[in-house]
Amino acid sequence: MDFSWTEEQTALRERVRDLLARELPPDWERLSRHGPGSPAQTAFSLNFCPKLAEAGLLVPHWPVEHGGSGAPPWHHFIIGEELWAAGEPRGAQYMNVNFIGQTIMRFGSVAQQRRYLPPMAAGQAIWCQGFSEPSAGSDLAALRTRAERRGQDYVINGSKIWTSYAGLAQTCFLLARTGGAGRQGICIFLVPMDTPGITVRGIPSLIGEGDIHEVFFDEVVVPADALLGEEGQAWPIIGWALSHERVGIARYAFSRRVLDGMVRQLQSQGRFDDPLIRARAGQALAAIEAARLLVYRVIDQRARGLPPMADANVARTAVIAADHLVSDFGMHFLPDTYCSDAFPLHLSHHERAIAAGIAAGAAEVQLNLVAQDFLKLPREARA
C-alpha cells in the first residue's frame, strides 16, 4: 500500500503545470467562467488542445496506432486532475479523451476509427452526447427517439434534452431506438451535427453558457455505417462508456483549488481566526481528501485491469458531497463574492457543483448502485 507518487508521475504533473502556466492567458479565470460549452471556451480549446497534443499530453493513454503512447491510466488521470483543477481548458474535448474515443476504439468499425479518432487526437473535435430525453433522464432505458432502417440508411426522429455542448458540436454520440421498449433495441449512432433535420435550441440555464440544449431530430437521414456496434445491442456499450465517463473528472481537485482561494480571501479579511470558519474549512478539506482517495482507488483498479466496480459509485457520491461542501462554504462565509466578477471561480465552481449530482447520473442513481452493487442489498420489488 503506497499513497505517494512515483518520480515519473511527479514529473508529468510538473510538465502539465508548466504548460498551463505558459498557455493559459491572464484572463483565463474569467474566460473559463462561461463554461466548457461556451463559444469562448470552445474556441480556446481548439487552440489549446493541439498544443496539449503536441506535448503528448492529450491522449497519452491511447495506443500508439491512434496517436497515443500507450501510457498507463494514471498518466491520463494525472493530466485530467491538473486540467480540471485549472478550469478545464480542454473545454468539451475532455469527453473525447475520457470516453468517447475509447468507446469508438473498442466498439467501432475501422472506418469509424479512421474518421473520428485522428481529429480527437489532434485536439480538433467537438462532440456532444445525445442521451437524455424529456421522459428519459436517469431512466435512460426509457428513451423514445426512433431510428428506422430504410435501405442503406437510418432515419432518425425524436428529441434529446439537456445535451451539453450541442450548440457547437461537430458530431453527436446519439442514442436511438430501433426495437421495442426497455434496454433492448437501443442503438448508438455517430451523427454529424450538420446533417439536415437537426435543430438545436439553447436552454437558458443557471450553469453557464452553452451547457444545456434541446436537440430535435426531424427525418434525419444517416448512412447505416453511422451505427456503432450491432443494431439494438448498445446497452452494454453504454454501460462501458458511462463507467469511463464517470470517474474521468477530478472534480475534487477543482474544489480544492477554489477552497484554497476562499480561505485566502477570508485570511485577507482577517476572518480566518474564527473557530467556526476554520472548522467548516477543515471539514470541507476532509471531504475533498476522502473523495480524492476514493477516486484514486478506482483509478488504481482500472490501472490493474480490473473490471468497473461499484467502488466508482462510492467515489462519485463522495465527490458530489465534497463539491457541495465547498460551494456551501463559500455561500455561507463569502456571499458577496457571488455578486461580482472579481471571483469568477466561485461562480463557475458553484455551477459545476449544483450540476454534479444531477447531470450524468443523478446522485440518487449512484446511491441505488452503491446499495445494490456495493452493499448487495436486495433489489427493490418492482410494481
Binding site: I203, Y338, C339, G357, A362
Partner: protein
C-alpha cells in the same frame, strides 16, 4: 395558545392571497430575477405594508404576509417593507445594509432609502438616483451597492438597534419560510407528475422521506417565525433555524427537480437562490445560535 389568525388577520391574509393568486397567473421570464412593477403597485396601493403598525394586526400578521408573498416567483422587497420601515417611518423601498455600508445589499439600486442597523444606533439615508448602482449576482434578488456611502446624508433614527435587529430577523426568517415553502410546493407538484422507472418520481420512498424532512423543516421555520413575530420565541432562534434549513432543503429540492431545476425556465431557482442569499445575512445560522445561546443561558 391559539394557532388561528384572528378576524382582522384573516381578512388581511385573504386579501394578500388574492394578490398572490393574481400574479401567479403571470408566466415567469427565463431570468434569474424578475421584478414586476404591477405587484409593487398592488401591494403599496392596497396599504398592506401598514399592517405591522395597525391595531389588531401587528408583527404576526406582517410576518404571515411576508410568508405568503415570498411564495411568488417575482421579486419585491418584502421584509423591510412589512416589518421595519413602517415602524421607523421610512419610505418604501428601504434597503437594509449588511455587515458594513460598503457591501452589496438587496434592492439597494431600487431603494428610496438605506438603513444601517449598527451596534451604536440605527442610521438612515435618503437615496437619490446615482447614489447606488446595480451589481450582477447569482442571487435571485436585485443586488446593489452604494457608490459613496460616506457622502450620504445619514441621520440617526430614534430606535433601539437590538429591537430593530430582532424585527429584521423575523422578516428574514419569514421570507425564508415563504421561499422554501413555495419551492417545496413546486417540487411536490413536479415529482407527482414526472414518471421515471415506470412510476411517479414522488412515489419513490427515498424521495418521499427527503421531501417529508423538508416539510418538517419548513413547518418548523414557519411557526418559529410567527412565534418570534409575536415575541414568544427569540428572533435569533427563529432566524437560525430558518437559515440552517436552507442548505439541505435547497439541495434536495434541486435534486428532485433534476435538470429542469438547472434551467432558468422553471422558477425553482428564484426561490432557492433567494433563500440561499438570506441564509448568510446577519452572519448565518451559527451566529444566530450563538446569540440565542447567550440569551437563553447568560453567564
Amino acid at each position: 395558545m391559539n394557532f388561528e389568525l384572528n378576524d382582522d388577520q384573516r381578512a388581511l391574509l385573504d386579501a394578500v392571497e388574492q394578490v398572490v393568486q393574481h400574479h401567479l397567473a403571470r408566466t415567469p421570464a427565463p431570468a434569474r430575477v424578475e421584478c414586476v412593477p404591477e405587484l409593487d403597485r398592488d401591494l403599496e396601493q392596497g396599504g398592506y405594508f401598514e399592517a405591522v403598525t395597525t391595531e389588531g394586526l401587528g408583527p404576526v400578521a406582517a410576518a404571515a404576509m411576508v410568508i405568503a408573498l415570498a411564495r411568488l416567483p417575482f421579486c419585491t422587497e418584502l421584509g423591510a417593507s412589512a416589518l421595519l420601515a413602517p415602524r421607523l417611518g421610512l419610505p418604501r423601498v428601504c434597503a437594509v445594509l449588511g455587515e458594513d455600508r460598503h457591501t452589496p445589499a438587496r434592492f439597494l439600486a431600487q431603494a428610496a432609502c438605506a438603513v444601517a442597523i449598527e451596534a451604536d444606533g440605527v442610521f438612515a439615508a435618503a437615496l437619490a438616483p446615482g447614489d447606488a448602482r446595480e451589481v450582477e449576482s447569482l442571487w435571485a434578488y436585485p443586488m446593489g451597492e452604494l457608490v459613496a456611502p460616506e457622502a450620504l446624508p445619514w441621520r440617526r433614527l430614534d430606535a433601539d438597534p437590538k429591537a430593530c435587529l430582532d424585527l429584521w430577523r423575523v422578516a428574514l426568517a419569514a421570507e425564508i419560510a415563504g421561499c422554501l415553502s413555495a419551492a417545496l410546493t413546486s417540487v411536490v407538484q413536479h415529482v407527482s407528475d414526472r414518471r421515471q422507472f415506470g412510476r411517479p418520481l414522488g412515489s419513490l420512498q427515498a424521495v418521499q422521506h427527503r421531501l417529508a424532512h423538508s416539510a418538517v423543516a419548513v413547518e418548523g421555520v414557519r411557526w418559529l417565525a410567527l412565534a418570534a413575530a409575536a415575541g414568544s420565541v427569540p428572533a435569533a432562534l427563529a432566524l437560525g433555524q430558518a437559515q440552517q434549513a436552507v442548505r439541505p432543503v435547497a439541495y434536495d429540492l434541486h435534486q428532485f427537480m433534476g435538470a429542469m431545476g438547472l434551467t432558468l425556465e422553471h422558477p425553482l431557482h428564484r426561490w432557492t437562490y433567494r433563500a440561499r442569499r438570506l441564509q448568510s445575512e446577519l452572519g448565518a445560522a451559527d451566529r444566530q445560535f450563538q446569540l440565542a445561546a447567550g440569551q437563553a443561558w447568560p453567564a
